[in-house]
Symmetry: C2
């Protein structure tokens, strides 16, 4: 099914590449997080979840940056992009040193009555954004995809979680956050992310 | 079907991003080729096909660089990676300035009794390499994919060609080269590429 096809694509084309520590000079995510914390002088307390967090909205709608989310349109937006996570370079399918870039964010939170910043490595599952874009044209094919999009995203999430759970090398390095972003009674994604930390 | 799902993904998640000229500072492929030819002082005659060439092997097997292909294991390999094509940067799904990198190659050919170099922008369809990797594990799911891989790749090619042909903005900017790389009577991919130019 469509969701499962995309899950295999995301798992093999991305998670299997960026997460594991590799014997060669290419650092896995765990090492890159350690390097980042050392470089940016971040305490263990301020980086509670040292994994990649993948946001999977049921609508497939992810903004260019998480800090662009509508819930941030306020006087003091809590989520900011944080510079400094190293890229991973890997020659692949004819492209020399293709760049695999992650994203660090810091979130302003109030803990024990005082302000602190929590750091996270988080992004949307680009695959579902691409799927959403496939649904946007006027063709009958896009119409068909649109009808099934919610199911495809749900199947993508389930199939991806299965692949991750079966993979001892990476399952401790990634969390999937699947959420219904079209339900106004649900908290917004950035609150979900903050709660997860 | 699986191939069509991957075609939509490659079309919307890659071709629609890197090919078109965009009103903002992000250059489309046509402009990046012009800039490259100017920078590297390449004549029009030496860059006969000013498009992205996407190689689609039926096995899904694409090497990290095209210059790694087995047909190149000779004294004077005709295909060399060429530096200089500009990257495209685009913030997407939470990643700031995600890097979309292409690849230029130059191919030594004999024309009218003298040696010259032809340039091309070429790569494998990463999507089918990722599919091939999905087939490599020992799970029953991978076994099922392996049985159908050839069909999935064929369907990917057909569906992708349809999407491209319906898109006036990009169809003059990309050629798909689908070939059976498991048939020893067929010429190798680099000969096919060279003939295409
Ligand atoms: N040659 C090439 N160069 C690129 O920069 C590139 N970017 C995407 N693609 C291919 O286009 C299609 C759509 O991409 P999308 O981003 O929706 O899914 C991607 C995306 O969700 C994730 N992924 C891969 N690389 C990255 C990356 N660098 N950053 C974030 N996510 C990534 O894993 C999926 C599969 O990737 P690939 O299996 O490499 O092939 C992709 C895919 O088939 C590319 N192909």
């Amino acid at each position: 099914d469509h969701g499962s096809a995309l899950a295999h694509s995301f798992y093999n084309g991305y998670l299997r590449i960026i997460l594991p520590a590799r014997g060669d000079y290419a650092k896995g995510l765990a090492q890159r997080i350690k390097d980042y914390m050392k470089e940016a002088k971040i305490n263990e307390d301020d980086f509670p979840v040292q994994k990649l967090i993948v946001l999977i909205p049921s609508s497939g709608n992810v903004f260019p940056l998480l800090s662009d989310e509508p819930s941030q349109a306020c006087a003091d937006p809590p989520v900011q992009y944080a510079e400094g996570l190293q890229d991973q370079l890997r020659s692949r399918a004819g492209i020399k040193e293709r760049v695999y870039r992650g994203a660090a964010y810091r979130i302003k939170v109030r803990r024990n009555g005082k302000i602190s910043f929590l750091y996270t490595i988080a992004e949307g599952a680009t695959t579902v954004l691409t799927l959403r874009e496939s649904c946007l044209t006027g063709t009958p094919e896009a119409e068909h995809l649109r009808k099934h999009k919610a199911d495809i995203v749900a199947n993508f999430y389930r199939a991806l979680q299965k692949l991750i759970d079966a993979d001892r090398e990476i399952k401790h390095l990634v969390d999937l956050l699947y959420y219904d972003d079209e339900d106004p009674t649900q908290p917004d994604v950035l609150s979900l992310l903050t709660d997860h930390l």
